[in-house]
C-alpha cells in the first residue's frame, strides 16, 4: 500500500496530532528508529536529559505547570527501569504522562537479550495503563487511546512499549477522530448522575454552623476554571478553607477565607478547624495519612462531603456522609447554581462565632520562629525569596524534606499550577528536573527549585541539561549539611542518634555550578541573603544559590505520627504523650 509509513513515523505523527510540542528523553539502541525520525522533522522539540529519571520528572513539571500531557521517550532495559520512580510519582500525584519505551525486537523478547526487561510487567502497578505494541497497524490507535486515558478522569501516566522491529515495520496511520474508544476503558462522568447527592450536599452546607472546605490537588487537575469556581463558591458561603500540599494555589494565600495548608506540617488553625468543624467539604482531596493524622480521632463531630473523580477514594480511609463522584469543575458549578437558586445563606451569627474561634487559634502564630542572629534561618530564607519574587511570574518546585515543608508554609501561592512538588510519593530529586520541565513550558517565567543539600544531589546531573538548553532555572539550596527531615525524626523519635543523616563531603556548590558554566552564588549570613536572591533573579542563566542555614532547625508545627489534629506540636519542648509516641514510631 502506498499510504504506509514506518512505525517510528507513526509515533511522531501521533505525537504531532496530539499537539505535543516537546519530548523529554534519552536515546539508546531500542529507540534508534524513533530518534532517526525525530532528526528528520522540526515540529517536535526534544530535550535531552542526562538520566532517564530526569526526563520523567521534567515531563511531570512540564505537565503540571502547563496543564498539557508530558511526553517521555527512553530506551529499553535500563532506560525503562530508570523511569519507574517517576511513573510511580506521576501515578500518586495524578499527573498526565505518556511514556514511550523502546523494546528489543519481538523475536528476541523472552531470550534475556541485551537491554531487555519486562517493561510492561515492571510498570503495570505504577501506570494507569500500559501497552506492548506488537502490530504496527495498531500503533496510532494505541497512541490516541493512551493520550485520552492519561488525561481522562483522574489523570495519570500511561506507558507504550514498542519493539524495535515494530518501529521499522510499515503500516497505516489512523487519525485521532477515527479512533473509537469503548466507554468502559474511560471514566465518563455523567453530569446528571449525582444530581441528588449534589443537592443534599449544598443543603448540608447551608445548615452548617462550623463549615470548612478541604481542598486538594484534584481542583488543580480539573483546570484553572475549577479553581475559579471553587473560590467563587467558598466566597458565597463565607466559609474558611484549607488546602493540602497538592492543592496550594487553588485559593490564594491572601484570600480572607484561607487558613493555609493543613496536615502534618500544616497550620495550627487549619488543623484545629478541621478537628472541630461540623460540616467538612472535601473537594479533590483523598484523606491522605499526612493530612488526617490518627484516623480514629479525625474530625470526630463532622458530616463529611467528598467530591472526587476516582470512586476508589470514597470511604477508603475515612467514611463520608455525602460522596459525589465527578469532576470538580462540573460538580462545583452545579453547587453554585443550586446555592443561588435556593437563595441559601449560612446563619450569620454562628458563622461569626466560628470565625472568632478560628481567629483565636490564629493568635497562636504557629509559624513563629526565633530569627535572632546573623545565621540565616531556613524559614527566613524562604520568606525573603517570596518577598523578592512575589511580583514576578514565579514557579516554585521543591525536592522532598524540611525545605519542602518550609516552602509550603512560607511561600505564598496566589494561583494554581505555580507550585510543583512531589506529594504522594515524596521523591527526593524531583524538584530540579521538574523545574527544567516548567521552564521549558514557560521560557519567560522565573522558575525556582527550593532544594535541600541532600535532595539536590539526587539529580544534579541535570545541570548539563539546564545549561545546554539555556534554561535559566534557579536552584535555591537551603544547605544545612543534613538530610534535615530524617535528622528531625531522629531527634524527636530516636534519641538524637543521627544515623547516616549527616551529608558529609558535600561539593562546593558554587564551583559545581561554575564547572557546568552556570552561575554559583553563596549566602553565609543574613547580610548576604537579599543580595544573593536579587542577583539570582537577575541572572539570565542557570544559577545555584547555596544558602547556608542553621543546621539543626526543626520544621514546626507538626502533628507527630500517631497523633490527632488537635494534638499539634508547636515546638520541640512540647512532648507527645508516651502512648501515641510509641504507636507513632512504627508509622512513616
Amino acid at each position: 500500500m502506498n499510504n504506509e509509513i514506518t512505525g517510528a513515523e507513526i509515533v511522531l505523527k501521533s505525537l504531532a496530532e496530539q499537539g505535543v510540542e516537546v519530548v523529554f528523553g534519552y536515546p539508546g539502541g531500542a529507540v534508534l528508529p524513533i530518534y532517526d525520525t525525530l532528526f528528520k522533522q522540526n515540529s517536535i522539540k526534544h530535550v535531552l536529559v542526562r538520566q532517564e529519571g530526569g526526563a520523567i520528572h521534567a515531563a511531570e513539571g512540564y505537565a503540571r505547570s502547563t496543564g498539557k500531557t508530558g511526553v517521555v521517550l527512553v530506551t529499553s532495559g535500563p532506560g525503562a527501569t530508570n523511569v519507574v520512580t517517576g511513573l510511580t510519582d506521576a501515578m500518586m500525584d495524578s499527573v498526565p504522562i505518556v511514556c514511550i519505551t523502546g523494546q528489543v525486537p519481538q523475536h528476541l523478547i523472552g531470550s534475556d537479550a541485551f537491554q531487555e526487561c519486562d517493561t510492561t510487567g515492571i510498570t503495570r502497578p505504577c501506570t494507569k495503563h500500559n501497552y506492548l505494541v506488537k502490530d504496527v497497524n495498531k500503533l496510532s490507535s494505541v497512541f490516541h487511546e493512551a493520550f485520552t486515558i492519561a488525561q481522562n478522569g483522574r489523570p495519570g501516566p500511561v506507558l507504550i512499549d514498542i519493539p524495535k522491529d515494530v518501529q521499522f515495520a510499515s503500516g497505516t496511520y489512523e487519525e485521532k477522530n477515527k479512533i473509537i474508544i469503548p466507554s468502559h476503558r474511560l471514566f465518563e462522568p455523567s453530569p446528571d448522575f449525582e444530581k441528588n447527592k449534589i443537592e443534599e450536599a449544598v443543603e448540608l452546607i447551608s445548615k452548617a454552623k462550623k463549615p470548612i472546605f478541604y481542598i486538594g490537588g484534584g481542583c488543580i487537575n480539573s483546570g484553572p476554571k475549577a479553581s475559579k469556581l471553587v473560590r467563587e463558591f467558598i466566597n458565597m458561603v463565607g466559609s474558611p478553607v484549607t488546602m493540602t500540599l497538592m492543592g496550594l494555589g487553588v485559593v490564594g494565600s491572601s484570600d480572607k477565607n484561607s487558613l493555609g495548608m493543613l496536615g502534618m506540617h500544616g497550620m495550627y488553625e487549619a488543623n484545629m478547624a478541621m478537628h472541630e468543624c461540623d460540616v467538612m467539604i472535601n473537594i479533590g482531596a483523598r484523606f491522605d495519612d499526612r493530612v488526617t493524622g490518627r484516623l480514629d480521632a479525625f474530625s470526630p463531630n463532622s458530616k463529611k462531603i467528598h467530591i472526587d473523580i476516582d470512586e476508589s477514594n470514597i470511604n477508603k480511609t475515612i467514611n463520608v456522609d455525602v460522596p459525589i463522584i465527578g469532576d470538580v469543575k462540573q460538580v462545583v458549578e452545579k453547587m453554585i447554581l443550586i446555592w443561588k437558586d435556593k437563595k441559601y445563606k449560612i446563619h450569620t451569627d454562628s458563622l461569626k462565632l466560628w470565625w472568632d474561634k478560628i481567629n483565636k487559634w490564629k493568635e497562636v502564630d504557629c509559624l513563629n520562629y526565633n530569627n535572632e542572629g546573623k545565621q540565616i534561618k531556613p524559614q527566613y530564607a524562604v520568606q525573603r525569596l517570596y518577598e523578592l519574587t512575589k511580583n514576578t511570574k514565579t514557579f516554585i518546585t521543591t525536592e522532598v524534606g524540611q525545605h519542602q515543608m518550609w516552602a509550603a508554609q512560607f511561600y505564598k501561592f496566589e494561583e494554581p499550577n505555580r507550585w510543583l512538588t512531589s506529594g504522594g510519593l515524596g521523591t527526593m530529586g524531583y524538584g530540579f528536573p521538574a523545574a527544567i520541565g516548567a521552564q521549558v513550558g514557560h521560557p519567560d517565567a522565573l522558575v525556582v527549585d527550593i532544594a535541600g543539600d541532600a535532595s539536590i544531589l539526587m539529580n544534579i546531573q541535570e545541570m548539563s541539561t539546564a545549561v545546554q538548553y539555556r534554561l535559566p532555572v534557579k536552584i535555591f539550596i537551603l544547605n544545612n549539611e543534613y538530610m534535615g527531615m530524617v535528622r528531625q525524626w531522629q531527634e524527636l523519635l530516636h534519641g538524637g542518634r543521627y544515623s547516616e543523616s549527616y551529608t558529609d563531603s558535600l561539593p562546593d556548590f558554587v564551583k559545581l555550578a561554575e564547572s557546568y558554566k552556570a552561575v554559583g552564588l553563596r549566602a553565609k549570613t543574613t547580610d548576604d541573603l537579599d543580595n544573593v536572591i536579587n542577583q539570582m533573579i537577575e541572572t539570565k542563566n542557570t544559577v545555584i544559590a547555596d544558602i547556608w542555614v542553621t543546621k539543626e532547625e526543626n520544621c514546626f508545627p507538626m502533628i507527630q505520627s500517631g497523633s490527632a489534629h488537635n494534638e499539634m506540636m508547636l515546638s520541640k519542648d512540647q512532648k507527645q504523650d508516651k502512648k501515641s509516641a510509641e504507636k507513632g514510631k512504627i508509622l512513616v
Binding site: T120, G121, R124, P125, K128, H129, N130, L132, I149, H184, R185, D289, T292, R294, L295, D296, D310, E311, S312, I314, N315, K316, T317, I318, N319, G562, S580, K583, G584, I586, L587
Partner: protein, 180 residues
C-alpha cells in the same frame, strides 16, 4: 491486615466470603493487572477462574473468590473498576441469589479390597468415571464446593487420591428478561 492507628475505626463488619465476577477485554496482561491489584494492595484471593466467554466481543469472565469485611470488598470492587480493560464488577453476594459450581478431577488408587466402597461412594455423589487410554480410575465430580469437599473427605478415608479442583465459578440466578 495489621492493626495500625491509621486503620479505619469503622471497620467493624465481619469477614465473609465473597464471589466477584469481573468482565474484561481479553487482551494480553489483563489477568496480571487483576491479580497484581490484589497482591499489591494486600487483598486475598481464595480461588480464581478465567476463560473467554464471548468470542465475537473478545470478553473474558473472571470469577474471584475472596474474603474480607464488606468495606474491604467494596474497596476491591472499586479498585478493579479502575483497571482500563475491566468492563464491570459484580459482587454476587450483593446481587442476592446466585448459583455456583466447581469441577474436581480425582485420580483414585483402587485395589481389590476397596474397590466396592469406592464405586459405592462415587455412585452416591454422582462422580463420573472418565474413560482414558490407560484405563485408570479418574473420576470427575461437579457441583457446589461443599459437596466436592464432602466427597473428597470421604474418599480420603477409603484410599489415597490425587486431586485437582477448578475453584468455583458462579452466575447470578436473578430472572432476566428472556425475550431478547
Amino acid at each position: 491486615m495489621n492493626k495500625s492507628v491509621y486503620a479505619s475505626p469503622d471497620q467493624v463488619s465481619e469477614t465473609k466470603r465473597h464471589i466477584l465476577t469481573v468482565l474484561v477485554d481479553n487482551e494480553p496482561g489483563v489477568l496480571a493487572r487483576v491479580i497484581g491489584m490484589f497482591s499489591g494492595r494486600g487483598y486475598n484471593i481464595d480461588s480464581l477462574n478465567v476463560a473467554e466467554v464471548s468470542n465475537d466481543e473478545n470478553i473474558s469472565r473472571i470469577t474471584i473468590v475472596t474474603h474480607g469485611t464488606s468495606e474491604v470488598v467494596s474497596q476491591i470492587e472499586k479498585q478493579l473498576l479502575r483497571i482500563v480493560p475491566v468492563h464491570s464488577v459484580t459482587n454476587l453476594d450483593q446481587e442476592g441469589s446466585s448459583v455456583e459450581a466447581e469441577v474436581a478431577l480425582i485420580y483414585i488408587y483402587i485395589s481389590e479390597t476397596n474397590k466396592k466402597k469406592v464405586y459405592q461412594l462415587c455412585d452416591l455423589y454422582r462422580a463420573r468415571k472418565i474413560e482414558n487410554e490407560n484405563n485408570t480410575t479418574i473420576f470427575e465430580i461437579a457441583g457446589a464446593s461443599e459437596r466436592v469437599n464432602r466427597f473428597i473427605k470421604e474418599i480420603n478415608e477409603i484410599t489415597k487420591v490425587e486431586i485437582v479442583r477448578s475453584g468455583p465459578v458462579a452466575i447470578s440466578s436473578i430472572k432476566k428478561n428472556e425475550e431478547e
